[in-house]
Each structure stands twice: as C-alpha cells, then as structure tokens.
Amino acid sequence: MPANQEAREVVGDYKAGWHDPENSTIRFDFGLSEEVVREISALKGEPEWMTDIRVKAYQHFVERPMPTWGNTPTLESIDFDKICYFLRSSQATEKDWDDVPEDIRNTFDRLGIPEAEQKWLSGVTAQYESEAVYHSIREDLEKQGVIFLDMDSGLREHPEIIRKWFCSVVPLTDNKFAALNTAVWSGGSFIYVPKGVHVEMPVQAYFRINAKNMGQFERTLIIADEGSSIHYVEGCTAPTYSTDSLHSAVVELIALPGAHIRYSTVQNWSANVYNLVTKRGIAHEDSKIEWVDGNIGSKLTMKYPSVILKGEGSHAEVISVAYSGEGQHQDAGAKIYHLASNTTSKILSKSISKNGGRGTYRGLVKVSPKAENCKLNVVCDALILDEDSRSDTYPTMEVANPTAHCEHEASVSKVSDNQLFYLMSRGHSEEEALAMIVNGFFEPFTRELPMEYAVELNQLMALEMEGSIG
C-alpha cells in the first residue's frame, strides 16, 4: 500500500505508473527490418522453420496497409521506427524469485505477484519487456503432464507441438498487427493440458513493460486436450511516459473435444500504450472457450476476442468490460463464428466512458449455412458519465441458417441524479455513490473473475471515479 501511494504521487491516479532504471543486457536499436527479425530468431537459437515464419510474417507486415476502419488517425500516429523491438533484461528465466534481478523482483513485489502466487495460483509467468524473468508451476501439475512454460522455453523444449499449432488459429496474414507479432514475437505462455486433466486453480501470466518506447510482442498458445480444463489469467501494466509504447500480442487457444478453456484478462496499461491484440480460439466438439476481458488502461485498444465454433455442441462466451477515460479509446468487442450445428454463444459487453473517453463495441456473430440450431445471445450496455464522452456500437450479425435462435439487446444509459441521491442519502459521498453504480454496472463481469482480481478491479474503478465530481 505505501508503494502504491508513492507511485500515485508520481503519476497521478494510475498506480502502476512507476518505472525502474533500465538495466538491459541486450537492447536492439529502434526500428524494424528483416535483419532485426532474423537477429531476434538467431539470438533465441530458434529452428529454421520458425525463422522462416518470422521472415514471411515480416514481409506481410510491410506489405499490409493499416486498417482503414476504427480509430485510423490514432493508428496512423504509431511510429514503427521509434520502437524498440527486443529488450532482454535478465539472462535467464528463473524458478525462484530470489534469483530474479532485484529491481525487477521489487516491481513484481509491488504488483503483488509473488503473494498471489502463494495464495491462489497453480503457476506463474512474469514477463518483463521481451522475455519471461520468472516462471513456475506447481509440482503436482507437472507430474500430471501439464506443460506451462514461457513461449521461448516452450519452443526449445517442445518444438513438435508448437510447430503443429503455431499460426493454426491466427494465420500470419490475419491482420497487420498479427503479422507484426508473428515476425518479432518474444515471450508469452505455452500451455498444454493433457487429456482429462483439470487444472483447478488458475495459472497466471503478468506482463510488464518498463522501458520507454518499448514494443512488447508476447505470443501465447494454449492447447487443452480432450476433456481437460484450465483457467488462464493475465494482467499487465506499464510505466507512464510521455512517449508511446506498443503492445501487440497474439493469443491462440485450441480446445479439443470436451475441453474447457477460460482466459481472463485485466488490461491496465498506462495511457501511453497502444494495445493492438489478436485473440482467437478454436472450439472442437462439445468444448467450451470463454474470454473474460477487461480493458481499463491504454491509449488505444483494438481487441476482439474471437471463437471459431468448429465442433458440434461447442460453446463460446465473451464477457468484456471497457473503461475509457481522458485520452483513451477502447475499441473492443467479440467475434463468434458458428461453423457447426448445435453451437451456442453468448456475448456480454459493458463499456463506461468518462472525461472525453471513447468506447466502441464492435462485434460480429456469423452463422454458416450448414450450422443448424445455433443459439446466440448478444448484450451490449454502455454507461456514459458526462457530456464529453462517447460510445458507439457496431453489432454485426450474419445469420445464414434460418434455424438459428438470435437474441440481441443494446442499451446506453447515464447515471441519474436520483440514483446518486438515493445512495447519498445512505451516507455515501457522491464519489462513493458513483463508484457503487459503476462497479454495479461492471458486476456481471467482475463476478466471473477470481475474487482477488474482482476486488482489485473494484478498487481500480473507485480510484478512477475520484475527482470525477465537479
């Protein structure tokens, strides 16, 4: 708590905005070229096939124009030549926090990661800049054959699995930023859960950017084999700088028949980070993929967690919240592709905009002609806290099979004076009352999070509501 207070004095309300001195062991010059891509691959001692994928992806990134939709002016303002594409800050990925360089360990201490690990997690990966500095998994899970590694170690230790699945869900030509990630990826998580194994407690990855003008490009691949289950949780923060950083991740999930993957994110980047992420899962027969996606920070987020319902009877859920404050644009949503019969999906999107912030819901639900008896439900609610803020909704439904059962609801609301007065009459200040309304609005999301995250999110939102009453 004193650490947080200290941090708040420095950077205002954003409590993770401090930075450490940069003690990198390897730091690339700014800018991107094929040479940079090859160098990253060489440095990691990768097999040739991975180098080839990277180079191909780089070529596609160069050729591919910027998206012409969304917040194009902000996208165009990204200067790819002023970003550092690789920064190694520790020689090794340690298994013991005591072996992690002190500055870095202190940062993760302040973020509460080792404490959370002891209390309620099955395993932890902590990534600092480009690579994981710490990694561990509970022994009993390892004995059951669960693989939980940072992606670089994953490629070294299990190249055959990675070769089989890498880019199988998000091809390198998917979009400009997925191509960029595929070219320069570093770090991220690799998880394989064997048949029938249920990982009861969540595993967590924490991503921290520390350096200025940093690009973080983690790559995550999760494969849940038949009848298995896992809950993966990720968090992320960065220092507040006046110059921009870029976070562009790719996440691929594969839920084999009967498996269940839940992927929860609380994204709290500082307001100078572009967060352009591609997340997608493939759900086989009777499997279930859930994205629980919270976007609180960043300058611009463009992220639409997707599920391809490939197998009969599979189910997808995307529950997301977005908070856009001053100078922020959260362009988020979900995409679901019903390719098989008897598949079901549910999208719940909640956004709050304040102090001129902008929230966009962009959603796509597609039902293919062959998919019979699909059920889909889309709900998007926006709460606008003042006149300067903005909320837009772009829901698209393309239903090519008449047996589909579709439900869609959308609402835009404002906090009413009577609601505030009611809560104030019960002894709550105007700010407390507003935080109660806002946290209530997010409740359908927070109740899906592990308790520790839910508490943190509520505190975060209460902090955002401070000073919002003029």
């Binding site: 009577n418 007065f421 809560l423 409740e443």
Partner: protein, 262 residues
C-alpha cells in the same frame, strides 16, 4: 441563528421554509417542530408539497431553498451535503426507491451501516444477528441479500427494503415519504411495525408523509399536519387524520377558508 432554548429541545425544527424547483415555489412558509420520541404525520393531496418537504430535508440537489431554516438538534442541515445529513442522523424512506443494478443488497447494507454508524457496527456476528432479526420481523427472506438494490423488486419489496434500512441505520429522524402507498393491509402492518420498532421508546423521531390515514391507525402519530398548496393549514392529534379520511380534503379546505374569512 439562535432564537433561544426552544431549538435545543426540538429534534427537527423547520422555520419559515420557502423552497421550490426550477423557479417554481412549492413550499410557501412551513413551520414545524418535532420533539425527540415523537411521530408526526403530514397529510396532503398530490402536489401539495409533501415530497418536496422530504427532499429538502434530505438535501436533494434539484430543490432550492429560498428562505428559512431546517435544524436537526439545533444544527443547520441546509449547509450539509446529503451524505453528511445521513451521517448526522437523517433518513428518508423514498417514495420511489432507485434501482442500482449490480449492487448487492447485503453489500450495500453493510457499507451503509459502516458509513453511518461506523465500521465497527457493520462487522462480525453482531451485525449479522441484527440483520437477520430485522429481516425476520419484516418477512424478508435471506436470499434477498444477494439480489441487486431495488432491481426488479415488487412495490412491496421496495417498501420493506426501505424499512429494513431504517431499522439498520438507526437514524435520529426518519422521514417516510408515502411508504404506505401501494401496499395491502398486511404490508402496511409490517411497515408500521418496523417504524414503531425503530422509533417508539427511543429518542428518535419520525415524520410520516401520506395521503391516507390507514398507516396512521397502526402508527399512532403524536401530531397530524395538513399540507395544502405549500402551507400547513391545520395541525391536530391523530383524530384529525380520521376526520380527514371521513370528510375529505375539500372539508378541510372549506374549514380553513371559513377560518381565514372569519
């Protein structure tokens, strides 16, 4: 501001209150004094200014006081924010309680008790016991605690929830704004029992705002005031409520008219 010792005795003292909303004057000079332990009723038709009076005492930001004072135990309430008034001991049971989706009843009650009676009062087994007892007397089932504040509540549930809050927050002054409206006779009895439990035999006081005399049969008020067009035109004992019920507001308007002519 002091006009002497009489302020100190009164729990609530309203003096020459002129107030309104959007440049429309609604209260045109109200004087009212309630002693500790007393229950008063204000009766009047729609539009007579009853709800405005309740909102002014609680501090609704939309209403404007043009003139006059509202004192709680001699202290001026009008300078305080609504939550400060609540912490000083003012409670309003709303005519239209507001829904707050996502805010759980149990959580909200605990936070409100902590804010008004202090953190200690909202902790541990004692609070749990107090909460359970209050819910039992109001016939509120336990699963109520995990529902969202007033969200999807029936009319009766909303009113009982207001009284539950009244019991737990233990105010010095409870204002009930048409808490009886829309309730059946059992509902009215339950609400009345709650009010009696919270006020009778304590140093607290209540101001019951209502159209009808029904609730007043179960909560015998010490005084009944009749509000017409922003003024208190008659004050009497509980029998005034009965007379009003039998003869209607026209009767009292006629009486007042006759008196002012005389």
């Amino acid at each position: 501001m002091g006009s002497g010792e009489s302020d100190i005795e009164a729990l609530l003292e309203i003096r020459n209150l002129h107030a309104g909303i959007d440049d429309t004057q609604i209260l045109k000079g109200i004087d009212l004094s309630i002693a500790p332990g007393e229950i008063h009723a204000i009766m009047g038709r729609n539009g007579s200014g009853k709800t405005t009076a309740a909102n002014i005492i609680m501090g609704h930001p939309d209403f404007e006081v043009e003139e006059g004072d509202v004192l709680l135990s001699g202290e001026n309430l009008l300078d305080l924010e609504p939550w400060e008034r609540a912490r000083e001991g003012v409670f309003l049971s709303f005519q239209y309680p507001q829904a707050v989706p996502g805010l759980q009843v149990g959580n909200f009650l605990r936070k409100s008790v902590a804010s008004i009676r202090g953190e200690e009062a909202a902790k541990g087994a004692d609070f749990r016991r107090e909460l359970n007892e209050a819910m039992d007397t109001l016939d509120i089932p336990r699963n109520f605690l995990s529902r969202y504040v007033n969200d999807g509540f029936s009319g009766g549930e909303k009113k009982r929830f207001e009284i539950l809050q009244l019991q737990l927050l233990r105010p010095k002054l409870a204002i009930l704004d048409e808490t009886d409206s829309g309730l059946d006779i059992d509902g009215i009895k339950t609400v009345a029992a709650g009010v009696n439990a919270a006020i009778r035999g304590t140093e607290s006081a209540a101001l019951i705002i209502t159209h009808y005399s029904r609730i007043l049969e179960h909560v015998r008020p010490d005084k009944v005031h009749v509000l017409i067009d922003g003024r208190i035109v008659a004050t009497g004992g509980p029998e005034l409520a009965t007379e009003l019920e039998e003869n209607g507001y026209d009767w009292i308007e006629g009486r007042v008219g006759a008196e002012s002519v005389a």
